[in-house]
Amino acid sequence: MNAVANYNFAYLDEQTKRMIRRAILKAVAIPGYQVPFSSREMPMPYGWGTGGVQVTASIIGPDDVLKVIDQGADDTTNAVSIRAFFAKVAQVQTTTHTAEATIIQTRHRIPERKLEAGQILVYQVPIPEPLRFLEPRETETRKMHALEEYGLMHVKLYEDIARHGRIATTYAYPVKVEGRYVMDPSPTPKFDNPKMHRSEALQLFGAGREHRIYAVPPHTDVVSLDFEDHPFEIQHFEHPCALCGAEQVYLDEVILDDRGGHMYVCSDTDHCEERREAGHVGVLGMQEAAE
C-alpha cells in the first residue's frame, strides 16, 4: 500500500461528497439559485479554488479526464497544482485539450472551443452574491432574490454609464438565468457571458469560502443585464493574437520589454497551441519561427 491509499478517492470522504452532490442537484434544479453547503477545509488556501475543487471532487469518477485552467492558461500555478492534486488523489487522467476533457475546472475563463454535451465546466467562485457590494446585508440580498427585486443591479450599471459613458463592468458581469435569478458568473470577463447562454455543457459554480454552490444546466437561457439604450456588448480587440493570428478570441496583454513593447496573445493557451499546430501564424509567431 502506498501513501496515496490513505486518501479516499478524490480526497473527500463519501458522506461529504454525498452532501455536496445533493447541493449540486438542488442547484441544477433551480438554475442560478445559490444553494448553501457545508464547505470543507481543503489542502489549499481560500481564494485558490476550494469551492471548485470540492465540486470537482464530488463529481469526478475514475474514467473522467480533467482539464484545469487559470485565466485560460493550463500552465499557471493554480492550474498546475489543482491538476496535480487530482492526478494524485483520484488517479484520473488529465489533459490540456479542451475537446478531450470531460470535466474542466476553471478560474475566470470559458474555453474558446465550444463545449459539448457531456462536458462539465466547474467554476471557482470568490464572491457568489452579485448584490454584495450594493447591499451588504445577506439577509436582505436573500430576500431580494426570493422576491425577484433586482432593480439595484441596474443601479450599478447606471452608475457605470453616469461615470464612464458606457457600462464599464468588464468582468463578473451580472446575468439573469432562465428569466428568474440574477447570478454572478464569477469573475469571468464579460467576453465569455454569451458562451454561457444555452451552452450544451453543464456549468457548476463552487464558492468555498462563502459556502455556496449554484449551477446553469445545459440549454439554459443566460442573459446579460443591460439598458435599452445601452445594450450589452463584449470586449473587442483591435489586433489578432500575435502568436496564432486568431480573431474573435479573448486576448491577454503580455509586456515584452521595458520600452513599452507588448503583444496580445490568446488567453486560452490550448486554443492558441492547437491553432499553431494547425499552421496558423500571427505577426510575432512568424518571427519566432524565423529566429
Binding site: 443601479v155 454609464i161 453616469a162
Partner: protein
C-alpha cells in the same frame, strides 16, 4: 380632497414585550391631507409611524389602505412581496437622517432612479431625464447629478431623499422629523419646498415631529401623543390655538417666543 379616505386605522396597538409603544390609535387619512403627529420624545410617535409604514408588526389592530385599484387591504395582511412593492411605489418614507434613506455610495441620479429601475424602467436616457427633472424640483443643481450624496450638505441630502421618494408618484408619504437635523434657515426652505410639493402632487402625508412650527406650517390635522396614547386630535389651527387637554396646553405654551 376626495370623500373617501386613503387610510383607515383602527385600534392600532403596539407593545414591545410588556412595554407599551402606542395604544388604541384610530384615525382616517384623506387624499391630499397632511397629518402631523406631535408629542414629547418617548411618547410613541415614531413607534406609531413605523407601525403605520409596516416596518413594525402591530400587537393588535389594523390599518386599511385603499390600493390604486380601489380595493381596501389591511397592510399587515399583505404578502411580503406585495408590501415591499407597495412601500417602494405607492408610499415614501423620509427618514430624519438622510443617510438612512439614501444610498450614500451611489450618485444622486442613481439614488433618484433606483425606484424607477426597481419597477422595471430599463431606459438609461429616460431614467436620467426623470432624475434631472426631480433634482430641479427639489432645487439641486443639474451638474450635481453624478455626485455622491456624501458630498452634499445636510439640507441637500434631505431634499435628495425627498426626490428619491417622490419619483414614483406615491400617494402616501411618511416623514420622521424631516427637518430634525437642519439649521433654522435650511429648515424654513425645506418646509416651503415640502408644502409646495405636497400641494402640487396632492400627496397625503403623515409627519412625525416634535416641532410645533413644522406641524403648523405643513399639516391640516394633528394628533397629540402622550405615553403611547393619542390625547387630542383635530384641525391643526384648532389644536394649536385652542388646546383642550392640559398637556397640549403645556406643550403649546412651552414654545419659546422670540
Amino acid at each position: 380632497m376626495s370623500d373617501e379616505p386613503l387610510l383607515r386605522v383602527k385600534n392600532l396597538t403596539k407593545y414591545y414585550g410588556s412595554r407599551l409603544g402606542c395604544a388604541d390609535v384610530n384615525f382616517e387619512l384623506y387624499p391630499g391631507e397632511v397629518l402631523a403627529i406631535v408629542g414629547e420624545s418617548g411618547s410613541g410617535k415614531t413607534t406609531l409611524l413605523n407601525t403605520l409604514s409596516a416596518n413594525l408588526e402591530p400587537t393588535s389592530g389594523e390599518a386599511l389602505y385603499r390600493m390604486r385599484d380601489e380595493s381596501w387591504r389591511n397592510i399587515y395582511e399583505l404578502s411580503e412581496a406585495e408590501r415591499r412593492f407597495l412601500t417602494r411605489t405607492d408610499w415614501g418614507f423620509v427618514h430624519q437622517n438622510p443617510a438612512d434613506g439614501l444610498r450614500m455610495t451611489v450618485s444622486a441620479g442613481a439614488n433618484v432612479g433606483e425606484r424607477l429601475m426597481a419597477v422595471g424602467d430599463r431606459h438609461y436616457g429616460k431614467i436620467r431625464d426623470t432624475a434631472l427633472d426631480w433634482l430641479g424640483r427639489v432645487e439641486i443643481a443639474a451638474d450635481r447629478i453624478d455626485d455622491q450624496p456624501r458630498s452634499f450638505s445636510g439640507g441637500m441630502r434631505q431634499r435628495l431623499q425627498i426626490a428619491r421618494n417622490l419619483v414614483t408618484g406615491p400617494r402616501l408619504v411618511f416623514m420622521d422629523e424631516p427637518t430634525g437635523g437642519l439649521d433654522v434657515s435650511v429648515q424654513a426652505r425645506l418646509l416651503d419646498l415640502l408644502r409646495q410639493l405636497v400641494g402640487e402632487l396632492g400627496l397625503s402625508a403623515i409627519v412625525v415631529t416634535h416641532d410645533l412650527a413644522v406641524a403648523r406650517l405643513l399639516s391640516h390635522r394633528m394628533m397629540v401623543m402622550k405615553d403611547g396614547h393619542v390625547i387630542e386630535a383635530g384641525l391643526t389651527d384648532r389644536v394649536l390655538d385652542d388646546p383642550r387637554e392640559p398637556y397640549t396646553q403645556l406643550l403649546v405654551s412651552s414654545i419659546l417666543q422670540v
